[in-house]
């Protein structure tokens, strides 16, 4: 899901930065207002955690690989805006130091994995957890939220890759950037995420929330400044 350099035309990657810039500013303001200095380590742990989760490549036998992101678990722990900052840091480090995801695509990749995913997961979790009793219910709610969050991020990635041939095709009919149309990108990315990587994400998120809720670490699931998250 880490779009490399050269896959997106300038209009798309500039739009990615243009959309993320105000979101980063809001995230910084929200986090500044609600972050207890003693919760700062959680932000650091979250960034490092998502970085590590993304190193666990899961194979599609005989096919491609993919991975979970951990963004929904992070959102449940530090809130969606905190998650946006943590995930963005992880994605920037991946691009700068490890060449995983392009420099030009940082905006787009952050929109997918640091904004869409944690926000979807966070609000879905909040909605579901009302109907499900803790701690098992919280685990199930978190699992579903993780599954849906990752798949939404994958879908957005597929759409952004798939519109490139529509936006940039040379006079000779050759693609200038990512070559595959939506009819290829959407099935290719969604089948593997719906059947495999999303399931992994759901399991990790659900088990972690279940365990945290049952252990003395339950305080982690109460983001500072969130009134109704008891």
């Amino acid at each position: 899901m880490h779009i490399p350099d050269g896959y997106l035309g300038p209009p798309t990657y500039i739009a990615g930065y243009a959309v993320c810039a105000p979101l980063w500013a809001v995230a910084a303001r929200k986090v500044r207002r609600t972050l207890d200095a003693r919760r700062v380590p959680l932000l650091a742990i979250s960034a490092a955690f998502s970085f590590l989760v993304m190193m666990f490549n899961i194979p599609v036998p005989g096919g491609t690989t993919g991975h979970a992101v951990g963004a929904v678990l992070v959102a449940i722990a530090v809130g969606p805006w905190g998650a946006m900052l943590s995930l963005s840091i992880a994605l920037v480090i991946q691009a700068l130091l490890f060449g995983d995801g392009g420099i030009t695509a940082i905006g787009v990749n952050c929109f997918n994995m640091a904004f869409l995913m944690p926000f979807t997961g966070h609000y879905l979790y909040r909605a579901l957890v009302r109907f499900l009793p803790a701690p098992r219910g919280m685990g199930i709610a978190a699992g579903i939220a993780g599954y849906v969050g990752l798949n939404l991020a994958a879908f957005s990635t597929a759409v952004l890759l798939g519109i490139q041939p529509l936006l940039h095709t040379g006079a000779d009919g050759r693609a200038l950037y990512a070559p595959y149309p939506l009819s290829v990108t959407i099935p290719a990315l969604m089948v593997e995420h719906l059947l495999l990587f999303g399931v992994a994400e759901g399991f990790i998120t659900g088990l972690a929330v279940y365990y945290l809720q049952k252990s003395r670490s339950a305080w982690i699931l109460v983001p500072a400044g969130e009134r109704d998250a008891k």
């Binding site: 350099d5 840091i89 700068l96």
Partner: protein, 117 residues
């Protein structure tokens, strides 16, 4: 709000992260065992050329824009060796990643939390 007594638990989380770092080579071995290639949509230009018969012009121009110091989580010059050797690079990359991500988020968090007053 988190009372100061939580530091012990935070230490536990850092320990879990170190454990995960040591386990990351699973992310190299499993794809090898199941004969899985690169992630969909993250191919290099040469791979694309093989797949569609040509290298898209814009892609060829901008794909080499940035030279990462540790490309693909491998130490320089260590790319393409046997998996057992790549594993060491992979674990070291995981540790570098923990330090960089944790450090970056820590500094940002301290700065934001400090600005509250």
């Amino acid at each position: 709000m988190s009372p100061p007594g939580k530091t012990k638990e935070l230490r536990k989380f850092w320990a879990v992260l170190l454990l995960l770092a040591v386990l990351t080579p699973a992310g190299l071995y499993l794809p090898g065992i199941f004969r899985a290639g690169s992630a969909w949509g993250e191919w290099g230009v040469e791979e694309i050329r093989k797949m569609i018969g040509y290298a898209p012009e814009g892609m060829e121009r901008s794909s080499g824009l940035w030279k990462a110091p540790l490309p693909d989580y491998a130490l320089p010059g260590r790319k393409g060796g046997p998996v057992s050797r790549l594993s060491l690079s992979y674990v070291l990359s995981a540790l570098v990643g923990i330090a960089a991500c944790g450090g970056g988020a820590w500094i940002l968090g301290r700065w934001l939390a400090g600005k509250k007053k």
